[in-house]
Symmetry: C2
Subunit: 259 residues, 2 copies
Protein backbone atom coordinates (compact mmCIF):
# COMPACT_ATOMS: atom_id res chain seq x y z
CA UNK A 1 0.00 0.00 0.00
CA UNK A 2 1.41 3.40 -0.94
CA UNK A 3 0.14 6.75 0.31
CA UNK A 4 -1.79 8.12 -2.61
CA UNK A 5 -1.35 11.78 -1.70
CA UNK A 6 2.47 11.72 -1.67
CA UNK A 7 4.72 13.60 0.73
CA UNK A 8 5.90 16.69 -1.10
CA UNK A 9 5.94 20.25 0.13
CA UNK A 10 2.72 21.21 -1.61
CA UNK A 11 0.96 18.27 0.02
CA UNK A 12 2.21 19.42 3.40
CA UNK A 13 0.76 22.86 2.76
CA UNK A 14 -2.50 21.33 1.62
CA UNK A 15 -2.82 19.27 4.78
CA UNK A 16 -2.08 22.38 6.78
CA UNK A 17 -4.77 24.41 4.97
CA UNK A 18 -7.18 21.54 5.41
CA UNK A 19 -6.61 21.35 9.13
CA UNK A 20 -6.86 25.13 9.46
CA UNK A 21 -10.34 25.55 8.03
CA UNK A 22 -11.92 22.39 9.37
CA UNK A 23 -10.67 22.55 12.93
CA UNK A 24 -13.90 23.45 14.63
CA UNK A 25 -16.06 21.21 12.47
CA UNK A 26 -13.93 18.12 13.01
CA UNK A 27 -12.31 18.62 16.40
CA UNK A 28 -14.55 21.03 18.30
CA UNK A 29 -16.06 18.26 20.40
CA UNK A 30 -12.89 16.28 21.13
CA UNK A 31 -10.95 16.99 24.30
CA UNK A 32 -9.24 14.66 26.74
CA UNK A 33 -8.88 15.12 30.51
CA UNK A 34 -5.70 16.00 32.36
CA UNK A 35 -3.29 13.11 32.56
CA UNK A 36 -5.04 11.03 29.91
CA UNK A 37 -2.68 9.05 27.68
CA UNK A 38 -3.85 9.29 24.08
CA UNK A 39 -2.56 7.37 21.08
CA UNK A 40 -2.88 9.16 17.75
CA UNK A 41 -2.40 6.48 15.12
CA UNK A 42 -1.27 7.60 11.67
CA UNK A 43 -0.44 11.21 12.56
CA UNK A 44 1.36 11.91 9.28
CA UNK A 45 3.11 15.28 9.44
CA UNK A 46 1.07 16.19 12.52
CA UNK A 47 -1.54 18.37 10.78
CA UNK A 48 -4.30 17.19 13.14
CA UNK A 49 -1.95 16.77 16.09
CA UNK A 50 -1.56 20.54 16.44
CA UNK A 51 -5.28 20.99 17.08
CA UNK A 52 -5.69 17.78 19.02
CA UNK A 53 -2.91 18.57 21.51
CA UNK A 54 -3.87 22.25 21.83
CA UNK A 55 -7.43 21.33 22.75
CA UNK A 56 -6.26 18.95 25.49
CA UNK A 57 -3.16 20.66 26.91
CA UNK A 58 -3.09 18.47 30.03
CA UNK A 59 -3.33 15.17 28.14
CA UNK A 60 -0.24 13.34 26.88
CA UNK A 61 -0.21 12.28 23.25
CA UNK A 62 1.78 9.54 21.56
CA UNK A 63 1.48 10.28 17.86
CA UNK A 64 2.78 7.55 15.60
CA UNK A 65 3.25 7.18 11.88
CA UNK A 66 4.90 4.53 9.74
CA UNK A 67 6.69 7.17 7.65
CA UNK A 68 10.00 8.35 9.13
CA UNK A 69 9.90 11.34 6.80
CA UNK A 70 6.50 12.44 8.09
CA UNK A 71 7.56 11.99 11.70
CA UNK A 72 10.66 14.12 11.05
CA UNK A 73 8.43 16.94 9.76
CA UNK A 74 5.96 16.48 12.63
CA UNK A 75 8.70 16.75 15.28
CA UNK A 76 9.58 20.24 14.08
CA UNK A 77 6.25 21.40 15.46
CA UNK A 78 7.68 21.09 18.98
CA UNK A 79 4.43 20.32 20.74
CA UNK A 80 5.02 20.09 24.50
CA UNK A 81 2.50 17.35 25.26
CA UNK A 82 3.18 15.17 22.20
CA UNK A 83 5.72 12.42 21.65
CA UNK A 84 6.05 11.81 17.91
CA UNK A 85 7.28 8.31 17.21
CA UNK A 86 7.96 6.36 14.04
CA UNK A 87 6.09 3.10 14.56
CA UNK A 88 4.06 0.49 12.77
CA UNK A 89 0.59 -0.03 14.16
CA UNK A 90 1.03 -3.76 13.87
CA UNK A 91 4.39 -3.84 15.69
CA UNK A 92 3.87 -1.57 18.68
CA UNK A 93 5.49 -2.47 22.01
CA UNK A 94 3.13 -3.57 24.78
CA UNK A 95 1.61 -0.30 25.78
CA UNK A 96 -1.86 0.78 26.78
CA UNK A 97 -3.66 4.07 26.32
CA UNK A 98 -6.72 5.71 27.78
CA UNK A 99 -7.96 6.82 24.38
CA UNK A 100 -7.18 6.36 20.72
CA UNK A 101 -7.59 8.91 17.92
CA UNK A 102 -7.46 8.03 14.22
CA UNK A 103 -8.00 10.71 11.57
CA UNK A 104 -7.80 10.21 7.78
CA UNK A 105 -6.05 6.86 8.21
CA UNK A 106 -8.55 4.04 7.61
CA UNK A 107 -9.15 5.39 4.08
CA UNK A 108 -5.63 4.23 3.21
CA UNK A 109 -5.89 0.70 4.59
CA UNK A 110 -6.84 -2.44 2.73
CA UNK A 111 -8.44 -4.05 5.78
CA UNK A 112 -9.71 -1.30 8.05
CA UNK A 113 -11.54 -3.59 10.49
CA UNK A 114 -8.40 -5.65 10.99
CA UNK A 115 -6.37 -2.47 11.49
CA UNK A 116 -8.67 -1.52 14.35
CA UNK A 117 -7.83 -4.73 16.25
CA UNK A 118 -4.34 -3.70 17.48
CA UNK A 119 -5.76 -0.30 18.43
CA UNK A 120 -8.48 -1.97 20.46
CA UNK A 121 -5.85 -4.15 22.10
CA UNK A 122 -3.88 -1.09 23.24
CA UNK A 123 -6.98 0.62 24.62
CA UNK A 124 -7.85 0.33 28.31
CA UNK A 125 -11.33 -0.99 29.15
CA UNK A 126 -13.78 1.88 28.98
CA UNK A 127 -11.46 3.94 26.81
CA UNK A 128 -12.71 5.60 23.65
CA UNK A 129 -11.65 5.39 20.04
CA UNK A 130 -12.37 8.36 17.79
CA UNK A 131 -12.29 7.91 14.02
CA UNK A 132 -12.63 10.69 11.45
CA UNK A 133 -12.85 10.00 7.71
CA UNK A 134 -13.96 11.85 4.60
CA UNK A 135 -16.02 10.38 1.76
CA UNK A 136 -15.41 11.52 -1.79
CA UNK A 137 -18.83 10.21 -2.81
CA UNK A 138 -20.22 13.02 -0.67
CA UNK A 139 -18.77 15.68 -3.00
CA UNK A 140 -21.28 17.49 -5.18
CA UNK A 141 -21.43 21.05 -6.37
CA UNK A 142 -22.97 23.73 -8.53
CA UNK A 143 -22.51 24.12 -11.41
CA UNK A 144 -22.44 20.35 -11.78
CA UNK A 145 -19.84 18.99 -14.20
CA UNK A 146 -19.29 15.55 -15.67
CA UNK A 147 -15.60 16.33 -16.17
CA UNK A 148 -15.20 17.32 -12.51
CA UNK A 149 -16.88 14.10 -11.42
CA UNK A 150 -14.54 12.12 -13.69
CA UNK A 151 -11.49 13.85 -12.20
CA UNK A 152 -12.76 12.99 -8.70
CA UNK A 153 -13.30 9.39 -9.82
CA UNK A 154 -9.60 9.27 -10.79
CA UNK A 155 -8.70 9.99 -7.17
CA UNK A 156 -11.13 7.29 -6.01
CA UNK A 157 -9.69 4.78 -8.51
CA UNK A 158 -6.06 5.57 -7.60
CA UNK A 159 -6.77 5.25 -3.91
CA UNK A 160 -8.53 1.94 -4.53
CA UNK A 161 -5.57 0.72 -6.62
CA UNK A 162 -3.31 1.63 -3.70
CA UNK A 163 -5.44 -0.56 -1.42
CA UNK A 164 -7.48 2.26 0.10
CA UNK A 165 -11.07 3.45 -0.01
CA UNK A 166 -11.89 7.13 -0.38
CA UNK A 167 -15.60 6.38 0.06
CA UNK A 168 -15.03 5.07 3.59
CA UNK A 169 -16.71 7.87 5.55
CA UNK A 170 -20.18 6.34 5.19
CA UNK A 171 -18.80 3.11 6.63
CA UNK A 172 -17.37 4.41 9.89
CA UNK A 173 -20.36 3.14 11.87
CA UNK A 174 -20.33 -0.48 10.62
CA UNK A 175 -16.50 -0.59 10.78
CA UNK A 176 -16.41 0.39 14.45
CA UNK A 177 -19.22 -2.04 15.28
CA UNK A 178 -17.49 -4.86 13.36
CA UNK A 179 -14.24 -4.16 15.23
CA UNK A 180 -16.07 -4.83 18.49
CA UNK A 181 -16.43 -1.34 19.93
CA UNK A 182 -19.52 -0.56 21.96
CA UNK A 183 -21.89 2.42 22.12
CA UNK A 184 -20.78 3.49 18.66
CA UNK A 185 -22.03 6.96 17.76
CA UNK A 186 -21.29 8.49 14.37
CA UNK A 187 -22.09 12.01 13.29
CA UNK A 188 -21.84 13.51 9.82
CA UNK A 189 -19.91 16.76 9.56
CA UNK A 190 -20.94 18.40 6.36
CA UNK A 191 -19.02 21.25 4.82
CA UNK A 192 -21.41 23.42 2.80
CA UNK A 193 -19.75 26.23 0.90
CA UNK A 194 -21.27 29.18 -0.93
CA UNK A 195 -19.89 32.66 -1.60
CA UNK A 196 -21.31 34.02 1.64
CA UNK A 197 -18.57 31.95 3.31
CA UNK A 198 -15.38 33.23 1.65
CA UNK A 199 -13.03 31.52 4.10
CA UNK A 200 -14.47 28.13 3.19
CA UNK A 201 -14.53 28.96 -0.53
CA UNK A 202 -10.81 29.55 -0.40
CA UNK A 203 -9.79 27.23 2.43
CA UNK A 204 -11.95 24.27 1.52
CA UNK A 205 -13.23 24.32 -2.07
CA UNK A 206 -10.02 25.64 -3.59
CA UNK A 207 -7.17 24.78 -1.25
CA UNK A 208 -8.39 21.53 0.28
CA UNK A 209 -10.62 19.60 -2.08
CA UNK A 210 -9.67 20.90 -5.52
CA UNK A 211 -5.97 20.99 -4.59
CA UNK A 212 -6.21 17.34 -3.53
CA UNK A 213 -7.79 16.37 -6.86
CA UNK A 214 -5.17 18.39 -8.76
CA UNK A 215 -2.57 16.41 -6.85
CA UNK A 216 -3.44 13.18 -8.67
CA UNK A 217 -3.17 14.72 -12.16
CA UNK A 218 0.03 12.97 -13.15
CA UNK A 219 -0.68 9.42 -11.91
CA UNK A 220 -4.22 9.63 -13.31
CA UNK A 221 -2.99 10.56 -16.77
CA UNK A 222 -0.01 8.19 -16.64
CA UNK A 223 -2.28 5.25 -15.84
CA UNK A 224 -4.62 6.17 -18.65
CA UNK A 225 -7.58 6.84 -16.35
CA UNK A 226 -8.32 10.11 -18.14
CA UNK A 227 -6.85 12.43 -20.77
CA UNK A 228 -4.90 15.51 -19.69
CA UNK A 229 -7.48 17.74 -21.40
CA UNK A 230 -10.43 16.13 -19.65
CA UNK A 231 -8.72 16.17 -16.27
CA UNK A 232 -7.85 19.85 -16.62
CA UNK A 233 -11.41 20.58 -17.69
CA UNK A 234 -12.60 18.84 -14.53
CA UNK A 235 -10.27 20.84 -12.32
CA UNK A 236 -11.36 24.09 -13.96
CA UNK A 237 -14.97 23.06 -13.29
CA UNK A 238 -14.12 22.52 -9.62
CA UNK A 239 -12.55 25.99 -9.41
CA UNK A 240 -15.65 27.30 -11.17
CA UNK A 241 -17.74 26.16 -8.16
CA UNK A 242 -15.74 28.66 -6.06
CA UNK A 243 -17.17 31.61 -7.99
CA UNK A 244 -19.96 33.83 -6.68
CA UNK A 245 -22.88 31.68 -7.82
CA UNK A 246 -21.19 28.34 -7.08
CA UNK A 247 -21.70 25.96 -4.19
CA UNK A 248 -19.70 22.99 -2.92
CA UNK A 249 -20.60 20.17 -0.54
CA UNK A 250 -18.47 17.56 1.20
CA UNK A 251 -19.01 15.45 4.30
CA UNK A 252 -16.71 14.05 6.96
CA UNK A 253 -17.81 11.36 9.38
CA UNK A 254 -16.73 11.22 12.99
CA UNK A 255 -17.31 8.12 15.05
CA UNK A 256 -16.67 7.35 18.70
CA UNK A 257 -16.75 3.88 20.20
CA UNK A 258 -15.97 2.48 23.63
CA UNK A 259 -13.71 -0.46 24.38
Amino acid sequence: MSYVHGYDQRERERLHDQAGTLVELLHGDTSYPAGARVLEAGCGVGAQTVTLSARSPQARFTSIDVSAESIAVARKRKLANVEFRRADLFAMPHETFDHVFVCFVLEHLEQPVQALAPLKAMLKPGGTITVIEGDHGSAYFHPDSAAANEAIQCQVALQRAAGGNSLIGRQVYPLLVAAGFGDVAVSARMVYVDSSRPRLVDGFTRKTFTAMIEGVREPAIERGLITAERFDEGVRALYRTAEDDGTFCYTFFKGVGIN
Copy 2:
Protein backbone atom coordinates in the same frame (compact mmCIF):
# COMPACT_ATOMS: atom_id res chain seq x y z
CA MET B 1 -45.25 20.54 -16.10
CA SER B 2 -46.85 17.63 -14.21
CA TYR B 3 -46.20 16.72 -10.59
CA VAL B 4 -43.88 13.74 -10.81
CA HIS B 5 -44.90 12.21 -7.48
CA GLY B 6 -48.62 11.93 -8.31
CA TYR B 7 -51.47 12.46 -5.90
CA ASP B 8 -52.58 9.03 -4.79
CA GLN B 9 -53.24 7.82 -1.28
CA ARG B 10 -49.87 6.19 -0.85
CA GLU B 11 -48.13 9.40 -1.83
CA ARG B 12 -50.17 11.28 0.76
CA GLU B 13 -48.99 8.81 3.39
CA ARG B 14 -45.41 9.13 2.22
CA LEU B 15 -45.51 12.92 2.48
CA HIS B 16 -46.95 12.56 5.95
CA ASP B 17 -44.19 10.16 7.03
CA GLN B 18 -41.63 12.46 5.52
CA ALA B 19 -42.88 15.46 7.40
CA GLY B 20 -43.10 13.48 10.63
CA THR B 21 -39.47 12.42 10.84
CA LEU B 22 -37.89 15.58 9.46
CA VAL B 23 -39.83 18.15 11.40
CA GLU B 24 -37.11 19.28 13.77
CA LEU B 25 -34.34 19.15 11.17
CA LEU B 26 -36.20 21.24 8.62
CA HIS B 27 -38.52 23.45 10.63
CA GLY B 28 -36.97 23.70 14.10
CA ASP B 29 -35.63 27.19 13.45
CA THR B 30 -38.66 28.66 11.66
CA SER B 31 -41.26 30.56 13.66
CA TYR B 32 -43.17 33.71 12.88
CA PRO B 33 -44.31 36.38 15.35
CA ALA B 34 -47.88 36.99 16.47
CA GLY B 35 -49.97 38.66 13.82
CA ALA B 36 -47.53 38.02 11.00
CA ARG B 37 -49.17 37.20 7.68
CA VAL B 38 -47.34 34.33 6.01
CA LEU B 39 -47.82 32.98 2.51
CA GLU B 40 -47.03 29.31 2.06
CA ALA B 41 -46.69 28.78 -1.68
CA GLY B 42 -47.20 25.27 -3.01
CA CYS B 43 -48.56 23.72 0.17
CA GLY B 44 -49.75 20.52 -1.54
CA VAL B 45 -51.81 18.45 0.88
CA GLY B 46 -50.53 20.53 3.79
CA ALA B 47 -47.87 18.10 5.03
CA GLN B 48 -45.54 20.96 6.01
CA THR B 49 -48.37 23.32 6.92
CA VAL B 50 -49.20 21.26 10.00
CA THR B 51 -45.77 21.87 11.49
CA LEU B 52 -45.41 25.39 10.17
CA SER B 53 -48.69 26.59 11.67
CA ALA B 54 -48.21 24.71 14.94
CA ARG B 55 -44.82 26.37 15.49
CA SER B 56 -46.27 29.85 14.96
CA PRO B 57 -49.73 29.63 16.49
CA GLN B 58 -50.20 33.43 16.55
CA ALA B 59 -49.26 33.94 12.90
CA ARG B 60 -51.83 33.73 10.11
CA PHE B 61 -51.04 31.51 7.16
CA THR B 62 -52.36 31.62 3.62
CA SER B 63 -51.39 28.29 2.12
CA ILE B 64 -51.94 28.00 -1.60
CA ASP B 65 -51.62 25.25 -4.16
CA VAL B 66 -52.53 25.00 -7.82
CA SER B 67 -54.13 21.56 -7.29
CA ALA B 68 -57.76 21.70 -6.18
CA GLU B 69 -57.50 18.06 -5.13
CA SER B 70 -54.56 18.74 -2.82
CA ILE B 71 -56.27 21.78 -1.31
CA ALA B 72 -59.37 19.67 -0.63
CA VAL B 73 -57.24 17.17 1.31
CA ALA B 74 -55.35 19.95 3.11
CA ARG B 75 -58.56 21.62 4.30
CA LYS B 76 -59.54 18.47 6.18
CA ARG B 77 -56.70 19.19 8.57
CA LYS B 78 -58.78 22.02 10.10
CA LEU B 79 -55.88 24.21 11.14
CA ALA B 80 -57.17 27.26 13.00
CA ASN B 81 -54.59 29.75 11.78
CA VAL B 82 -54.43 28.60 8.16
CA GLU B 83 -56.51 29.56 5.16
CA PHE B 84 -56.02 26.95 2.44
CA ARG B 85 -56.72 28.39 -0.99
CA ARG B 86 -56.56 27.00 -4.49
CA ALA B 87 -54.49 29.56 -6.38
CA ASP B 88 -51.91 29.91 -9.08
CA LEU B 89 -48.75 31.67 -7.98
CA PHE B 90 -48.75 33.65 -11.19
CA ALA B 91 -52.36 34.80 -10.86
CA MET B 92 -52.69 35.86 -7.24
CA PRO B 93 -54.84 38.85 -6.34
CA HIS B 94 -53.00 41.97 -5.13
CA GLU B 95 -52.03 40.93 -1.67
CA THR B 96 -48.97 41.41 0.45
CA PHE B 97 -47.45 39.22 3.14
CA ASP B 98 -44.93 39.70 5.91
CA HIS B 99 -43.15 36.45 5.06
CA VAL B 100 -43.14 33.76 2.42
CA PHE B 101 -42.42 30.06 2.91
CA VAL B 102 -41.72 27.63 0.03
CA CYS B 103 -40.93 23.98 0.75
CA PHE B 104 -40.33 21.25 -1.89
CA VAL B 105 -41.78 23.44 -4.64
CA LEU B 106 -38.94 24.93 -6.71
CA GLU B 107 -37.78 21.38 -7.56
CA HIS B 108 -40.92 21.03 -9.69
CA LEU B 109 -40.60 24.29 -11.62
CA GLU B 110 -39.00 24.81 -15.00
CA GLN B 111 -37.87 28.35 -14.19
CA PRO B 112 -37.36 28.62 -10.44
CA VAL B 113 -35.84 32.10 -10.47
CA GLN B 114 -38.80 33.44 -12.44
CA ALA B 115 -41.19 31.71 -10.05
CA LEU B 116 -39.61 33.63 -7.18
CA ALA B 117 -40.48 36.98 -8.79
CA PRO B 118 -44.22 36.99 -7.97
CA LEU B 119 -43.38 35.84 -4.44
CA LYS B 120 -40.97 38.72 -4.04
CA ALA B 121 -43.64 41.09 -5.36
CA MET B 122 -46.09 39.94 -2.68
CA LEU B 123 -43.54 40.30 0.12
CA LYS B 124 -43.38 43.49 2.20
CA PRO B 125 -40.03 45.29 2.34
CA GLY B 126 -37.89 43.65 5.01
CA GLY B 127 -39.93 40.45 4.90
CA THR B 128 -38.24 37.08 4.64
CA ILE B 129 -38.52 34.26 2.17
CA THR B 130 -37.68 30.75 3.36
CA VAL B 131 -36.97 28.04 0.80
CA ILE B 132 -36.41 24.35 1.59
CA GLU B 133 -35.37 21.85 -1.07
CA GLY B 134 -33.84 18.38 -1.19
CA ASP B 135 -31.12 17.23 -3.59
CA HIS B 136 -31.12 13.67 -4.87
CA GLY B 137 -27.45 13.98 -5.80
CA SER B 138 -26.82 14.11 -2.06
CA ALA B 139 -28.03 10.52 -1.60
CA TYR B 140 -25.32 7.96 -0.93
CA PHE B 141 -25.30 4.89 1.22
CA HIS B 142 -23.63 1.71 2.40
CA PRO B 143 -23.55 -0.85 0.95
CA ASP B 144 -23.16 1.13 -2.26
CA SER B 145 -25.08 -0.23 -5.25
CA ALA B 146 -24.97 0.64 -8.94
CA ALA B 147 -28.55 -0.61 -9.35
CA ALA B 148 -29.76 1.65 -6.54
CA ASN B 149 -28.04 4.64 -8.11
CA GLU B 150 -29.66 3.80 -11.46
CA ALA B 151 -33.09 3.63 -9.83
CA ILE B 152 -32.47 7.04 -8.24
CA GLN B 153 -31.36 8.39 -11.61
CA CYS B 154 -34.75 7.32 -13.01
CA GLN B 155 -36.45 9.65 -10.55
CA VAL B 156 -34.02 12.44 -11.52
CA ALA B 157 -34.67 11.85 -15.24
CA LEU B 158 -38.46 11.73 -14.81
CA GLN B 159 -38.50 14.91 -12.78
CA ARG B 160 -36.32 16.60 -15.42
CA ALA B 161 -38.65 15.38 -18.17
CA ALA B 162 -41.54 16.91 -16.21
CA GLY B 163 -39.70 20.25 -16.19
CA GLY B 164 -38.30 19.95 -12.68
CA ASN B 165 -34.90 19.50 -11.08
CA SER B 166 -34.38 17.08 -8.22
CA LEU B 167 -30.79 18.26 -7.80
CA ILE B 168 -31.92 21.77 -6.91
CA GLY B 169 -30.95 21.80 -3.23
CA ARG B 170 -27.36 22.77 -3.94
CA GLN B 171 -28.68 25.74 -5.97
CA VAL B 172 -30.84 27.39 -3.32
CA TYR B 173 -28.19 30.03 -2.59
CA PRO B 174 -27.61 31.22 -6.17
CA LEU B 175 -31.36 31.03 -6.94
CA LEU B 176 -32.29 33.33 -4.06
CA VAL B 177 -29.46 35.72 -4.93
CA ALA B 178 -30.47 35.74 -8.62
CA ALA B 179 -34.08 36.47 -7.63
CA GLY B 180 -32.88 39.63 -5.91
CA PHE B 181 -33.18 38.70 -2.25
CA GLY B 182 -30.64 40.15 0.18
CA ASP B 183 -28.67 38.71 3.10
CA VAL B 184 -29.19 35.21 1.71
CA ALA B 185 -28.13 32.53 4.18
CA VAL B 186 -28.33 28.85 3.28
CA SER B 187 -27.68 25.95 5.60
CA ALA B 188 -27.38 22.29 4.71
CA ARG B 189 -29.54 19.91 6.76
CA MET B 190 -28.05 16.50 6.39
CA VAL B 191 -29.91 13.36 7.38
CA TYR B 192 -27.40 10.71 8.40
CA VAL B 193 -28.91 7.33 9.20
CA ASP B 194 -27.37 4.25 10.77
CA SER B 195 -28.92 1.48 12.84
CA SER B 196 -28.31 3.36 16.09
CA ARG B 197 -31.12 5.67 14.86
CA PRO B 198 -34.03 3.24 14.28
CA ARG B 199 -36.65 5.99 13.87
CA LEU B 200 -34.72 7.46 10.95
CA VAL B 201 -34.00 4.03 9.46
CA ASP B 202 -37.70 3.41 9.27
CA GLY B 203 -39.01 6.93 8.88
CA PHE B 204 -36.45 8.23 6.44
CA THR B 205 -34.49 5.49 4.66
CA ARG B 206 -37.45 3.17 4.18
CA LYS B 207 -40.60 5.25 4.28
CA THR B 208 -39.40 8.53 2.84
CA PHE B 209 -36.55 8.07 0.40
CA THR B 210 -36.92 4.47 -0.75
CA ALA B 211 -40.72 4.79 -0.89
CA MET B 212 -40.33 7.86 -3.11
CA ILE B 213 -38.03 5.96 -5.49
CA GLU B 214 -40.41 2.98 -5.52
CA GLY B 215 -43.12 5.43 -6.50
CA VAL B 216 -41.58 6.02 -9.93
CA ARG B 217 -41.30 2.30 -10.79
CA GLU B 218 -44.06 2.27 -13.39
CA PRO B 219 -43.26 5.45 -15.34
CA ALA B 220 -39.54 4.58 -15.26
CA ILE B 221 -40.15 1.15 -16.77
CA GLU B 222 -42.84 2.39 -19.18
CA ARG B 223 -40.50 5.01 -20.58
CA GLY B 224 -37.74 2.48 -21.01
CA LEU B 225 -35.38 4.19 -18.57
CA ILE B 226 -34.63 0.87 -16.85
CA THR B 227 -35.77 -2.75 -16.83
CA ALA B 228 -38.18 -3.96 -14.17
CA GLU B 229 -35.54 -6.41 -12.90
CA ARG B 230 -32.87 -3.73 -12.56
CA PHE B 231 -35.24 -1.28 -10.91
CA ASP B 232 -36.36 -3.86 -8.38
CA GLU B 233 -32.74 -4.79 -7.70
CA GLY B 234 -32.05 -1.12 -7.02
CA VAL B 235 -34.97 -0.81 -4.62
CA ARG B 236 -33.90 -3.96 -2.79
CA ALA B 237 -30.42 -2.45 -2.47
CA LEU B 238 -31.93 0.69 -0.96
CA TYR B 239 -33.85 -1.40 1.60
CA ARG B 240 -30.59 -3.26 2.23
CA THR B 241 -29.05 0.01 3.50
CA ALA B 242 -31.67 -0.05 6.27
CA GLU B 243 -30.18 -3.22 7.78
CA ASP B 244 -27.94 -3.23 10.84
CA ASP B 245 -24.66 -2.54 9.07
CA GLY B 246 -26.10 -0.11 6.52
CA THR B 247 -25.97 3.66 6.42
CA PHE B 248 -27.87 6.26 4.42
CA CYS B 249 -27.19 9.94 3.74
CA TYR B 250 -29.35 12.69 2.26
CA THR B 251 -29.23 16.46 2.49
CA PHE B 252 -31.86 19.18 2.45
CA PHE B 253 -31.00 22.84 1.95
CA LYS B 254 -32.78 25.66 3.73
CA GLY B 255 -32.30 29.22 2.59
CA VAL B 256 -33.58 32.50 3.97
CA GLY B 257 -33.43 35.80 2.11
CA ILE B 258 -34.75 39.27 2.82
CA ASN B 259 -36.81 41.42 0.47
